[in-house]
Amino acid sequence: MWIKIIIIAGIAAVTVVLLRSRGSKMLALRRLAMVVFGMVFAASVLFQDVWTVVANAVGVGRGADLLLYMFVLVMLFFVAATHLHFRGVEAQVTLLARRLALAEATPAGEAARTGDQSTEDPQTS
């Protein structure tokens, strides 16, 4: 069945692309993919039989089933992309928050010194 190969290849592609999605080339590819995807989808609304024809060609019974498979694949891509994006943002927020926290705290070396003074200041003893 062609559909099994296509879906598994799709999942693999999603994984690979997401793992190495860096830089402007990836962004451009993503945008192009969105445009192509939109045009294909619009066309398929005008020519509804296309889904069934393609579905039969790849070994799926009905066009609606093929649509569902595609939807799941796209959904998976979206979830993974969002996850990666959030992980990046979280790493940045962490660094930012850490810098802020350390900048506002009494420095460790200084804290230690004031601690020594309070116990060893000759004037107070």
Binding site: L102, E104, A108, A112, G115
Partner: protein
């Protein structure tokens, strides 16, 4: 006596016990830093009033992030030779920390991991024991180090070891991450028996089976 040692305490909403924990630690150790990880119950102020240094995260980031912040804080103290991670909920014993630092002072190891399974003092429930065994097994598989207790909050580092550790796992998987990095940096390590005290308080918020699921997924998707 211990002016070259820092206790690093990740702190998140432990207002009920943190003052006692800090007070008790300060009886032995001069330098205690609590990294307040966005507590909203005033834990940070309580720790400060009890005499600890407090570093405040502006928002909650997770225990791993709090530990890394604490590490970077104490590394800025040139007098720091040893740093010990210590839980804020009162389940660790200061005496155990002393033993771990003494072990580091011999110069034979760079890192000492606490383990509750090396003697008979700690009595976890059967379910907890099972969870910890699974977590330890997983950790030993992924990190390449053989430890008897992978998720123990007590760990002691010398300065060189602390510089080699960079925690990126913000949430719970940092425990295994630390072990991996210790293995990767080829640091010399030992385990030291510690007594984990399970009170009703710690039981009410301790690591449940759900938490171990979270740890596993975080490790798989790092």
């Amino acid at each position: 006596m211990f002016d070259d040692t820092w206790l690093v305490v990740p702190l998140f909403n432990e207002g009920a016990v943190i003052a006692d924990v800090v007070t008790q630690a300060l009886q032995t150790f001069d330098k205690v830093v609590c990294v307040d990880d966005g507590s909203y119950d005033g834990s940070g102020d309580l720790a400060q009033a009890a005499g600890a240094q407090v570093v405040r995260h502006p928002l909650n980031l997770g225990q791993g992030a709090a530990l890394q912040t604490g590490f970077e804080y104490v590394l800025a103290d040139p007098a720091m030779q040893y740093a010990v991670t210590f839980d804020a909920d009162g389940q660790h014993q200061v005496d155990d920390v002393v033993a771990m630092v003494e072990l580091l002072r011999t110069g034979e190891v760079d890192v000492v991991f606490g383990s509750r399974f090396l003697d008979e003092r700690t009595t976890p429930s059967r379910a907890k024991k099972a969870v910890l065994r699974v977590a330890t097994g997983m950790s030993n598989l992924t990190t390449g180090l053989r430890l008897t207790d992978a998720h123990n909050g007590l760990r002691a580092f010398n300065r060189q070891a602390l510089q080699a550790v960079h925690i990126r796992q913000n949430r719970m998987a940092h425990a295994s991450e630390i072990v991996s990095q210790v293995a990767k940096a080829k640091l010399r390590f030992a385990e030291s028996p510690v007594h984990v005290l399970y009170t009703d308080y710690s039981r009410s918020k301790g690591q449940s089976i759900w938490n171990s699921v979270n740890i596993l997924t975080e490790l798989l998707y790092r």
